[in-house]
Subunit: 127 residues, 2 copies
DNA sequence: CTGAGTGCAAAACCTTTGCATGATA
DNA sequence: TATCATGCAAAGGTTTTGCACTCAG
């Protein structure tokens, strides 16, 4: 597909994504990088993110707002509770949850289950 | 926000959505309605769906393909395993999963937890 | 009657693609 | 040098908005 050359643009995208601890959209990431003084095109951000997802270095998630969000793929197990109304995201830890999830995934022939388990609800502020 | 008048167009959208047993995009829903002989604008479908989501009559879900999907909100508890690669969706049942999910949601002040719990992975065909 | 709902077209939006230029190995 | 990557602009797709018209209440 390509030989994956190393460019400062790709490194900038990866660095900017690593600096985030949650999901971020391509547009936001682009602005964040521009904010650091580096100047690169939005197109490049999209292509770098697509590459990273293909190589398993990043996860992508679509929320109900028209933008796609990306996140660095880490071995950490994060679970998110996402507010359907304001998109506020809360991390939580739930022992046993992951085991249940992966067992059901295996039963259905699924592998590489996302470490991101997303639950959607309405948060207390929006209730 | 509005006085929610009853029109045959809204009824058609709701009926078409109820006829589906899974998620369907606004575009597909529009085509489905046109297929029944009824003629209405795509704009109206979007507005009807937005209304239904606001009133809690429908659930919306964004997958990583650029289209938003909608689904009638029923008391049934469905869980989905979604393939990150081909978007194939498998329903599964996992006793105890829901209890865990709702308990963690309550602990974090979240209510109206979605009955749709989505797990993302790679299915056997795409592995 | 009155105003919310509809529908068409145009706008806005995010994302992808084409192609010439610039940079990497 | 030979490719691959970048970046701009344009295209592509979905969703939203403006506005005159229609219809439910």
């Amino acid at each position: 597909m390509s030989q994956r050359r190393t460019t400062w643009q790709k490194q900038a995208v990866q660095a900017a994504l690593e600096a985030q601890d949650g999901f971020i959209s391509a547009q936001e990431l682009h602005l964040a990088i521009l904010g650091t003084g580096k100047k690169l095109g939005l197109t490049t951000v999209y292509r770098a993110l697509t590459d990273m997802v293909e190589q398993g270095q990043a996860d992508s998630l679509a929320i109900t707002d028209g933008e796609m969000r990306f996140r660095i793929c880490t071995p950490e197990h994060h679970h998110h509770l996402i507010c359907r109304s304001c998109s506020k995201t809360v991390e939580f830890d739930l022992p046993g949850f992951e085991a249940l999830a992966s067992s059901v995934a295996k039963e259905n022939g699924f592998s590489e289950l996302s470490h991101e388990i997303e639950l959607f609800g309405i948060c207390s502020d929006c209730r």
